[in-house]
């Protein structure tokens, strides 16, 4: 196993983060999971800034699991930033949140989210939701080829 980050989990609640990671691991979906506790940290990671300046745009995570209610920079802002930049535009983003507000759904899809799921209260259902999302995006889905990110880097140079 390489230690390339497979999933970026943007989640401010340590409990939710722990339970999500546990669920992903137990279902043998992903090993290397990076947790960002707020939107600013998520953007630092994705845009290879500050403590993540050693990263490169050519190795983006295969999936960003994004909560909406986050300290500092909100989930929608993170999503907007990802979609606004050619270097991160192709990264699959799935919103996983407590809210199923129609407004959030509309805004999320308009900003180009790939999927939107509500965290169920029931733990079994929660487990199942996380498992299905992980299964699909990590195993079933064909990830964007590196050119989807590299091309833009070349242009930038």
């Amino acid at each position: 196993m390489s230690n390339e980050v497979e999933i970026l989990l943007v989640e401010d609640s340590p409990e939710d983060a722990e339970l999500t990671i546990r669920s992903l691991r137990r279902n043998k979906i992903a090993n290397v999971i990076q947790v960002a506790e707020d939107g600013a940290e998520a953007l630092d990671f994705l845009f290879c800034r500050d403590s993540h300046k050693d990263r490169t745009f050519v190795n983006p995570p295969k999936l960003v699991l994004l909560d909406l209610k986050l300290p500092k920079v909100g989930g929608m802002e993170v999503l907007r930033a990802i979609r606004a930049d050619e270097r991160t535009k192709a990264i699959p983003v799935v919103v996983l949140t407590s809210s199923k507000e129609e407004r959030d759904l509309i805004e999320g899809y308009k900003l180009g989210v790939n999927a939107y799921a509500q965290k169920p209260v029931d733990f079994d259902q929660f487990n199942e939701t996380v498992r299905q999302i992980g299964m699909f995006w990590m195993l079933v889905n064909q990830a964007p080829p590196p050119e989807a990110f590299a091309a833009s880097t070349a242009r930038e140079d």
């Binding site: 609640s13 409990e15 939710d16 339970l19 546990r22 909560d67 909406l68 209610k69 949140t97 407590s98 809210s99 507000e101 129609e102 407004r103 959030d104 965290k119 169920p120 209260v121 029931d122 733990f123 079994d124 929660f126 487990n127």
Partner: protein, 494 residues
């Protein structure tokens, strides 16, 4: 608050009687002014006639005097001729005679209307003729036989005095008649003028009085109306303020309910999650009692999760915008019955679905209404061997009413007031599961549509839920509510 509005309305003066009485007064004043005009015109015409008669009388008197002067002229001419025999004096005589003829004709013309005067003229005529003949005889004698004969003839003709006396008397009589007539006519003319004056003065005074009364009435009514308007404005203002306050409170409550429910979800998920982790990772080292406790924790967390979800749904319905469209309620019900099939698959349920009208409503929310009512019916008939659930429509006071009836556990009418309250349950959880939010959601949706919902039930025999869907009259209120929903502050989300 509605009672308040009625009371305000009750104090309004009736607009129709106000304007009709005002109109009547105006019409009255107009008629009186018109009458005065007509009367004074007629009086003016009559007084004109009276003045003409007075003039006429003066003319007659004048002619009478002229006749006397003419005779005197003729006499003077004759006497002078008799004395001098000069032809010029004879001409004076002739002038007098011809003038006399003319004046007599005029007099006669002026007297065509007066029989008495005509008679007098008839009597006067021969006297004049006789006198003129006498004068003529004198002239003839003077001409024929000279001065002496003339003097003789003059002397002989001492009848002249007699004729002249009679003529004077006759003219005097006529003059007297005319004077009397003049007096009467002057009196009449004066009376007419007086009458006109009285009519004009009294009529105008009356018209002015009426206008003053009308002015007063208008002033009073305007005052009353202004007062009523002020009152209404005040009431409206109060109502608007109250509405604003209420909607603000409502929004605050909805937001509060939403965020509480929302924030409760995460820790609940964590409780359920960690107890699950405990069972998975440390289950083997726990005994049966410990495992049972963990099971209970999960169960309770699950139950609370359901409560929180229902509460979220309820608050979401409250804040949701209605998207109104023509909806076939019949097919909506069929769909719901089909969707609920898993819940009654193992039971005998007889569905009696009547014809339902199509309604202007939010079809998604209306479906929720039927889901909640029909799943309730399915749930509460759970202990019946043969469950009967009926959906139909009826009409009452021109209003279309939809009902959902079942032969299930029913309820005691004593508690009907609690039926639609949030978290209110009329049955033990052991008997029938539920959170007590379903009917509250139904009521909220129906009210949002401007409709009403109520229920009838008999314990252990069944329950019937009735509801109406708002009429078009409610659209404005609905729209108001919509606007309020749009304006409300957005709740925190995660």
């Amino acid at each position: 608050m509605p009672a308040r509005a009625d009371e305000d309305k009750g104090e309004l003066p009736s607009g129709t009687t106000m304007s009709s009485s005002s109109k009547a007064i105006a019409a009255c004043a107009l008629i009186i002014v018109a009458c005065i005009g007509l009367l004074s015109f007629r009086s003016e015409v009559r007084s004109e006639e009276d003045r003409a008669w007075v003039r006429h009388t003066y003319l007659v008197v004048e002619r009478l005097q002229a006749v006397r002067i003419d005779i005197t002229e003729a006499e003077t001419g004759q006497r002078a001729f008799m004395l001098t025999g000069e032809q010029t004096h004879l001409e004076q005589f002739d002038d007098g005679v011809s003038q006399l003829g003319q004046d007599m004709r005029e007099l006669s013309d002026l007297s065509t209307d007066n029989a008495e005067q005509r008679e007098a003229i008839k009597r006067l005529n021969p006297l004049i003729v006789a006198r003129l003949e006498e004068l003529g005889d004198g002239i003839d004698a003077r001409r024929r036989s000279g001065f002496q004969a003339g003097v003789e003839a003059f002397r002989r003709a001492n009848n002249g005095e007699k004729w002249m006396g009679q003529i004077a008397a006759q003219i005097g009589e006529m003059r007297h008649n005319e004077d009397q007539l003049l007096g009467t006519r002057l009196d009449t003319a004066a009376a007419s003028t007086r009458k006109i004056k009285i009519v004009i003065v009294c009529g105008n005074a009356l018209a002015i009085l009426i206008l003053v009364v009308k002015g007063f009435v208008i002033h009073r009514e305007t005052g009353k109306r202004n007062l009523a308007e002020e009152h209404l404005k005040g009431a409206n203002g109060r109502l608007e303020r109250r509405t604003a306050e209420l909607s603000e409170t409502n929004i605050e409550l909805e937001s509060f309910a939403y965020s509480v429910a929302h924030d409760l979800r995460a820790p609940l998920r964590h409780i359920a999650g960690y107890s699950n982790v405990l069972v998975q990772d440390y289950g083997p080292s726990l005994d049966a009692g410990g495992l049972r406790c963990l099971g209970k924790i999960e169960e309770c967390a699950h139950k609370m999760g359901c409560l929180v979800d229902d509460l979220l749904n309820l608050s979401q319905v409250g804040r949701q915008k209605l998207s109104i469209q023509d909806t076939l309620l019949g097919s909506l019900v069929e769909q719901v019955v089909e969707d609920l099939a898993p819940e009654y698959a193992s039971r005998e349920v007889e569905w009696r679905i009547g014809d339902l009208f199509s309604a202007e409503c939010d079809s998604g929310l209306m479906k929720q209404v039927f889901v909640n009512l029909l799943s309730n019916a399915v749930k509460y008939t759970g202990k019946r061997e043969h469950a009967v659930i009926e959906v139909g429509q009826t009409r009452q006071n021109g209003e279309r009413i939809i009902f959902v009836r079942d032969n299930g556990a029913g309820f005691d009418m004593q508690y009907v007031g609690k039926l639609f309250g949030v978290f209110q349950r009329l049955h033990k959880a052991r008997d029938f599961e539920g959170t007590g939010v379903g009917l509250a959601i139904v009521q909220r949706i129906i009210r949002k549509h401007g409709g009403r919902i109520w229920a009838e039930g008999v314990l252990d025999q069944g329950a019937t839920f009735f509801f109406t869907i708002g009429s078009p009259e409610n659209t404005t209120r609905k729209e108001l509510e919509l606007r309020l929903t749009e304006e409300e502050t957005y709740v925190e989300r995660s």
